[in-house]
Structures are given as structure tokens and as C-alpha cells.
Symmetry: C2
Subunit: 522 residues, 2 copies
């Protein structure tokens, strides 16, 4: 399973693409499908261009291009430990300058700096490229090959590059720059203008990416789309494309003794429960008031109303997904016997992608070690996240939860917001999306297209704030993000469906030309 | 506050004895009081005997007697770490032999050994003496004086003996043996026969004390009562006597993914909440079904029915307690603004001592560290204890909780029993209790008498299994059980209400003679 580049973790890009199952219907009127049509992505015109001189350049420079990836991966850039961050920012900026970007800058923020680059090709179309140059921490002893040596090693999948950041995200990003280099080397310039805005804090939850966007917002809004280089093939070579993500609200809900009752400063002896209120039981009752007895329907008034039902386009995407959606396969891989209420097929897809969630990520109170200790804890806390489908924004979600707790008599219960951002959605009709599908189709690799992931990422910065369509995708396969032995396949085994570094770069070349040749949205 | 000798911790012996407040009435019919009379413990005849030669012996041997306490306290006997356990058992046995006990033995169990001793005075009455010779672990660096040096140091209260076990429980126990020695030295024998049955695992929850009782049960049943030497004065010198304890049921309630739904083997990505059931929310709903929305009324059918309402005797004790019960004082010391439902006075006493509880001691699931992690945990657990007033036994309590969860549809929720034993109750009319009150009265120290503690200890071994009245009490003051700087006052400051070692031993002498002179219960 791929790890998308966010601390909230976007799961199951690949798991959406399995075999057939029945489709159903959600009970909610608003979510009733108005079309049974299926969007057939094979009908999108394959990109017809061929850039043989550039492909040849890519092939001839394979060793140097691989060395570029290794150079990036051998430079640690662990944002959580501030290890190599400034060196990596400067390496990225320097590479952009060397490629011929007219503007390059390391851009200060209140946290780690960003990197800006602008390449003026004098072209009609402009692509914004999002990058992250930071990586997760490592425990080198857990790795088969040192995470910052970036060795190419043999595996079942072929020759792989093993390193922290190999697939998340330096590998595909530097592969994209290799493609840029190749185009410029052969053609003298690019078919589109490029705006690169990279951050060094993605693994920290992108706390200052908004500051970076702020500084360049007026220029970024003029772009035709935002692109995030991404290995989106699974181990069998199947590609997936998702056109959005859910938003998220992440809160801590807490009960502490206070004027309402309960111990205020510290735990007390458990026998006092006979005359003293329990913050732990109060948290339990407050949480239980938020959902139905089976835990699956959110009882917060208004919570479902704001969700925007699937558009006609999204319905057609979901109808197509349902043909290959495999409940049993996904359930087996998750260790789950059945979905909520036994739903399957299209009903399951709809719940998965269009229902808001209320989930306990963690919960703690009092004594949690082995054996017996009898206390009445003065505090109980739950970490709760709510996935927000398009239309339901985090601030209204939070206000509705607060209002509901108040109306249920839990005004003493505190809510701390730890994170929150809205959903992001891109239309399949956007020129950038059509260009991407066209490139996939050129190579006979029509992607599974999902209207969105059930997971979350702050892509609203592009789609909502800047109004740009976003594509995060590309050929290539890697795995192990946030884990030991992270890798990206460089030269796949003979007969593999996976694309190697040469093919990845080729497709990035095609994408830029394909975007340049797209008609504007009318 | 005193620490009673049990891992379940009996709190608030002293906190029951404060100033005046209003008395109320519980709503439950069965608990309606039938008498407004107050038991006046000052009316119990003060013990009239005087044993001047023995008191003189006590005074003359003060240094040796203090040295006896220090010898015991310098011998570590940490049951949790098996440190010095066998040496301490042998020291106790040897002391009993030296005192003239005819039978002494270190008695094997499946855990740490017990110690048995029988002193045949040829007397009419027999006293069983419960002892514990083990202590809690220590962190010497946290102590003002090394916990196993047993130094006498100056304090605000006078000269105190500081050591692990000083008050819990070696100090009062060896003081009791000093009294025995003094009587025998002067009189040649004791006024009552003694059966000592000591354990070395009290701090582990007395897992094998039942095995010890089993071996001597037929003989122990012939005793007139069981006695546990105990420092029961507060820092102001006020003494308290409790005639019982609640029982306890300690369980872990857990939800794990299974056939009903949810992830079975490991946490999964939080975004799956949209289609996967949450064990954490299921635990929340199961727990919430056990109690009313305010967390204070147990909704398990039958739970209150088994509780035996206060007897006439107990009502008279409670009526007397209500005169000095101080809600505000206790609330302030606990950091609690108000009791449940704003009850006060006698209503509060009744709830405290006669209501069963359902309390969350601890609760945990998923991610409990700083910040944001979005997972759907596959397991959620709560430690729950229920205090069981006399009449409600742990096995029926457990069965009722199980039945209730099943009937609420939570048959997948597991319950693990970690501990459980029933309540213990002794009548104020028992000769041993009357003897003890008489001795307190002799010194003008009429104790506050509570029908029971709200806390728990496995005293049913004496009261229910052996059918013996139990007194745990005595003069003396100490504190710091299970904490650094544990102490017992040896020579109180001039004008203090606290009794020092000499007076403690004197009162133990009196108690044995007072018991010998009591009329049998008719």
C-alpha cells in the first residue's frame, strides 16, 4: 500500500483496484444516484505525442539521473530533528538554478524554509509543482541497507533504490526534475512555464505551507494546475488516480473535575466514587452521545447536511469503481470480517468516500499498567478525528460538536483542536487531469480513477485556496514510507508491470507536453 | 490520612471525624432509617483495670522496645522484589518463639511463606492476631532518612521513627509484641491465648492468605476475635474505629475487533472508520450502558437489590457520625467542589458507605502520545472496580454485569476478573470491639466509630470465613505508607494528642486484659 505524503496518511490508493462485487444504493435521498453511467477512462484520448530525442537523452543519462536521486537521498533532511534541512533546501534551490530556473530562492517561514523556483518558458500554460524536501526520522539498525546510503539493491521486484525518502518523496520529485533537464537539454526550453513551491515540513503536518502559499498566491493562481510527482503504481503495475481527499478535524475531547463535580487537581482513592463524580465516566457519556449505539451514525445535528452529494461526474466515477471494487479482498488485507452494517459494493464505496467519520484514535485515563490500582482519575481524554467529505468544513464541524455537547449537558467537557483543514476536489475534466490520463493511456496503463481518497491531506491549499486542479500521480512504484526499508523501483524485473526510472521520466516528459497541448477549460 | 494495609487502600479513616453538618435521608425505601438514636460510644464502660507493674516494665524497657522496632525495620522485606522475605519471616517466627509461643512455624504457601504462632495461656478467651511482615518497595533517594536505617528523627510531631514499614505495618505489630513481652515478663503468662497468622504478601494483594487460613481454619474459628495492630490516631490525636470494609470486584472490560466487526489483528488507518466498526467506540457505548448519564447510578439490573440496608445498630452509628461529619472539610482535602447530586451530611455518609460503585480506574486505547496520529485501534480496555457493600458478593456482581452487557447487545465485549472478594462486617457488640472501645475510653479517647470504611480489604477471611469479629485499631499515629518518608511517632511533642510508643504498648496490654474480662456474646 502506498503512503501518500502527509502525516494523516492517505491509505489504500491501490486497494481500490481489485475484482468485481455487487453495487448497492445508500438510503439517504440526497445521495441517491441519478445516473448509472460509468466514466470510461480508456475513452480519454491517449497522448499522441512522441519525443524520441528526449527519451533517448533520458536513456543515455540514466546513470547520471540515478546519481541525482542518490545525491538527494544521501542528504538527510529529517524535519522532526532539524537534521540537514537547510542543506537540502539549498540543494533543491541549486538544482533549480542549474536547470535554468530564472527565479530561485530559499524562502524563510516561521519554521523550516521553503524553496521557490520559476521557470519562464514563455509558454501559454503554467504548471505549479508542489514538492516536499523533508523526510521521516530513521532507525538505521532496522534497515537492510543504510537509509542515507541510498544503495541500489536486488529485490523480488528488480533493482530498487533503498533509502529514506526514496518514494516519499525525493525519488519521484528528482525523477521529475530529471525529465525537466532532459527536455531543456534537447529542446532548449520547456513546453510550459513552471512554478515550484517546496516545503521542508510536510512530515510535521505542513504547519507553514500556508505562509509560503501566501507569499506567491497571486502568481500561483495564474497556473493551470498543481502537480505533485508521485509513484502511483502498485506492485503489479496497476496505476490509480484520485481526484480529491477528505478534510479532517482532529481534536482532543477531555473531561476534568471542576465546578460540575469530580476531583479537580489529582486522582483520588477509588472508593470515593460513591460520592464523587467520575471524569472518566463523564467522558464516556459525552463520547457516547456523539454517535449511535453501534458507533456508526454521527448524532451531531447537521453533521451530514453539509456534505455535498456526488456530482454526476463523481457518480460516473463511482459506478466505474464499483465494477472492480472487492470488499472481501480489502477486508482480508485489513483483518476485518465485514464492513459497517454489512454494506458492500457501491454502498461501501459511497460510505467510504462520502460519509463523514467520528473516530477515536486514542483514549486514556488513570491507571493503564498491569494489575490492580484503584483510583478515581481526575482527567480522561480522547483523541478524536473526523474525516470531512467535501462541503463539511472543520470549523463548522467543530462548532456543531461543541453545540451538541452543550445541548447534551456536557458544557464542562473541553475540546482542543489539534488540526483541521477542509477537503479538496478536482474535476476529471480539468486539462491537467485529462493530460495525465492521456499519458497513462498512451502506455496502455489506464488508471483506476477515484473521485477522492477516504484519507486526508491539506491539498485544499491548491484546489480551494488557489483554485487549481491538482494531480498527484505518475508512473513508478515504491513502498515503506514512514517505515524501515523504504524503496523505489529503479529497474523492474523483466515482464513486470511496474515502470522503471527511465519510463517514469519519459512519462513526466509526456505530461508536460500533453498539458501544453490541452484546450483550456471552457 | 492513614494507609490501611491493603493494596486496595482503605482511605479516610481519619477524614470521617470532622465537624458538624446537616443529616438527610436517602430516597430508597429500603434504606429509610427506622431510628434517630445515636450510638454514644462514651457510654461503653471504660476499661477499669490498671496494670502498673506492666506499665512500669514498658517504660523501663523503652530503649529495648524501640530497638525491637528498629531491628524489624532494618530488615528489608519487600514482597514485590522478594528482598529479605525469608529473613523477615524467620525473624518474626524467632521472636514469637523467644516470647514463649509453644508453636511457631514458617508456613510454606504457593507464594511467600506465612508465619504461625500459638501461645497457650490456658485462658478462657483466645485472640487471633493478623500480621503482615512485608513492605512496599522503596526509592531510597526520595527519602530524608534511609528507609532501612530506621532512624529516630525530630519532626513537627516530635520524635518519629522513619522507615519503610514504620506504620504499615511492622511498627504497630512489633509494639504489640513488646506489650506481650511485658505482660509475660511481669505476670508469667498472658490473660488470653494468642494465635498469630502472618503473611508476607499483603502488599501483593494477599494472594495466598487463603491458603494459610485453610491450614489453621478449625483452630482459628475457636478464637473470640481477630485483631490487627494498627495506628489509628490522626495527627491531632483523634482515634477512629471502623467495623467493616466494602468488598470489591476488579475487572478489565475490553472490546476487540472480531466477528461483530472492527479490525481484529492490529490498528488500521483511521479513514476506514467510514466502513469499519470501532472497538473504542464500542467500549464507550458498552461502558455508557452500565451507568446513568451522570455516571452515578448503576443501571445493571439487580445491582442495588442485594445490598443489605443498615441494621439498627449501624443506623445508630451513622446517626452519631452525622454529628461530626464535615462535607466541606473532606471536599477541600480531596479537591472536590461537591458530592454527587449535591448530597450532604447523613445522605452523603449513606452513599459513601452503603452504595455500590462502578468506577473507571483506567482506560486506554490506540495512540496516547502528543499530537496527531490517525488510527482506528483494534482494541480498547477499561479497568473498572466496583465497591461492594455487605450483601453484594463479587461473583453475583460480575454475573449481573455480564448479563446486562449481553442484554444490551454487547456479548462480544470481554470481561477479565482481576480480583474480587466480599465485604466484612463486625458488630459493635462483639466483646473484642467492646474491649477496644473500653480501652480507648479509659484514656479519654473515645473513637469515632464508623460501621465500615468505603474502601476494601480482604477482611472477609476473618469475619465471613472464620466468623470472627475483627478489630483493626490501636493508639498511635503514622503516615507515608506506600510513599517516601514513612514514619511512626515514637515520642510525641509535649501537649500532643498523639500517643507515643509507651502509651501504645500500655493500651495493647490493657486490650488483652479487657478482652479477657469481657462477657461472652449471648
Amino acid at each position: 500500500m502506498k503512503k501518500l505524503p502527509t502525516r494523516f496518511g492517505l491509505a489504500a490508493v491501490a486497494t481500490l483496484c481489485l475484482s468485481a462485487s455487487a453495487a448497492g444504493q445508500l438510503s439517504d435521498e440526497r445521495f441517491r444516484f441519478t445516473t448509472a453511467e460509468k466514466l470510461d477512462a480508456t475513452q480519454t484520448s491517449a497522448y499522441a505525442g512522441s519525443h524520441d530525442a528526449i527519451y533517448a537523452y533520458v536513456d543515455e543519462h540514466f546513470e547520471q539521473h540515478l546519481a541525482n536521486l542518490q545525491r538527494w537521498l544521501r542528504q538527510p533532511s529529517v524535519s522532526a530533528q532539524n537534521d540537514g534541512i537547510h542543506e537540502m533546501a539549498e540543494m533543491l534551490r541549486g538544482d533549480l538554478e542549474e536547470l535554468g530556473f530564472e527565479e530561485t530562492a530559499v524562502v524563510p517561514t516561521d519554521g523550516h524554509p521553503g524553496v521557490w523556483g520559476y521557470y519562464d518558458a514563455g509558454a501559454e500554460r503554467t504548471l505549479m509543482v508542489y514538492m516536499m524536501y523533508d523526510v521521516q526520522p530513521v532507525n538505521p539498525e532496522d534497515w537492510e541497507s543504510h537509509p542515507f546510503q541510498a544503495n541500489v539493491i536486488e529485490s523480488d521486484l528488480g533493482e530498487i533504490l533503498m533509502a529514506r525518502g526514496a518514494t516519499n518523496q525525493k525519488g519521484p520529485e528528482r525523477a521529475f526534475l530529471n525529465a525537466i533537464e532532459s527536455i531543456i537539454a534537447v529542446e532548449g526550453t520547456l513546453p510550459v512555464n513552471l512554478m515550484v513551491l517546496a516545503e521542508g515540513e510536510e512530515e510535521l503536518g505542513s504547519p507553514h505551507y500556508g505562509q509560503l502559499v501566501e507569499q506567491f498566491a497571486d502568481r500561483l493562481r495564474t497556473a493551470d494546475g498543481a502537480f505533485f510527482p508521485f509513484n502511483s503504481q502498485d506492485p503489479a503495475g496497476n496505476a490509480a488516480l484520485s481526484l480529491g481527499v477528505k478534510g479532517i478535524l482532529y481534536i482532543e475531547i477531555e473531561s476534568t473535575g471542576g465546578d460540575w463535580g469530580g476531583p479537580r487537581q489529582a486522582e483520588i482513592h477509588g472508593s470515593y466514587k460513591a460520592i464523587v463524580d467520575s471524569p472518566a465516566l463523564r467522558l464516556v457519556q459525552a463520547l457516547s452521545s456523539l454517535v449511535s449505539k453501534d458507533g456508526n451514525t454521527i448524532l451531531v445535528p447537521g453533521y451530514y447536511d453539509a456534505v455535498r452529494p456526488p456530482t454526476d461526474e463523481e457518480q460516473r466515477l463511482i459506478n466505474a469503481m464499483a465494477d472492480t471494487w472487492n470488499d472481501e479482498g480489502q477486508q482480508a488485507s485489513l483483518g476485518v470480517r465485514q464492513w459497517i452494517d454489512g454494506v458492500t459494493g457501491r454502498d461501501a464505496i459511497m460510505r467510504y468516500l462520502y460519509h463523514p467519520t467520528l473516530n477515536i484514535d486514542g483514549m486514556w485515563s488513570g491507571y493503564t499498567d498491569e494489575g490492580v490500582k484503584t483510583i478515581l482519575p481526575h482527567r480522561a481524554t480522547a483523541k478524536v478525528d473526523s474525516r470531512l467529505p467535501y462541503g463539511l468544513d472543520p470549523d463548522s464541524a467543530l462548532a456543531m460538536i461543541r453545540r451538541h455537547l452543550d445541548s447534551e449537558g456536557f458544557s464542562d467537557i473541553t475540546i482542543r483542536k489539534l488540526a483541521g483543514y477542509p477537503a479538496a476536489q478536482t474535476s476529471v475534466d480539468a486539462p491537467l487531469v485529462q493530460a495525465a490520463i492521456g499519458v497513462f493511456n498512451k502506455y496502455g496503463q489506464t488508471p483506476e480513477i477515484s473521485p477522492r481518497l477516504a484519507g486526508s491531506a491539506p491539498f485544499y491549499q491548491f484546489t480551494e485556496r488557489l483554485g487549481l486542479p491538482l494531480v498527484f500521480g505518475g508512473f513508478g512504484h515504491g513502498s515503506g514510507a514512514h517505515a524501515p526499508n523504504e524503496y523505489m523501483v529503479i529497474t523492474p524485473k523483466e515482464g513486470s508491470g511496474i515502470s522503471g526510472l527511465r519510463e517514469i521520466e519519459r512519462a513526466y516528459v509526456d505530461l508536460l507536453f500533453a498539458l501544453a497541448s490541452q484546450h483550456p477549460i471552457t
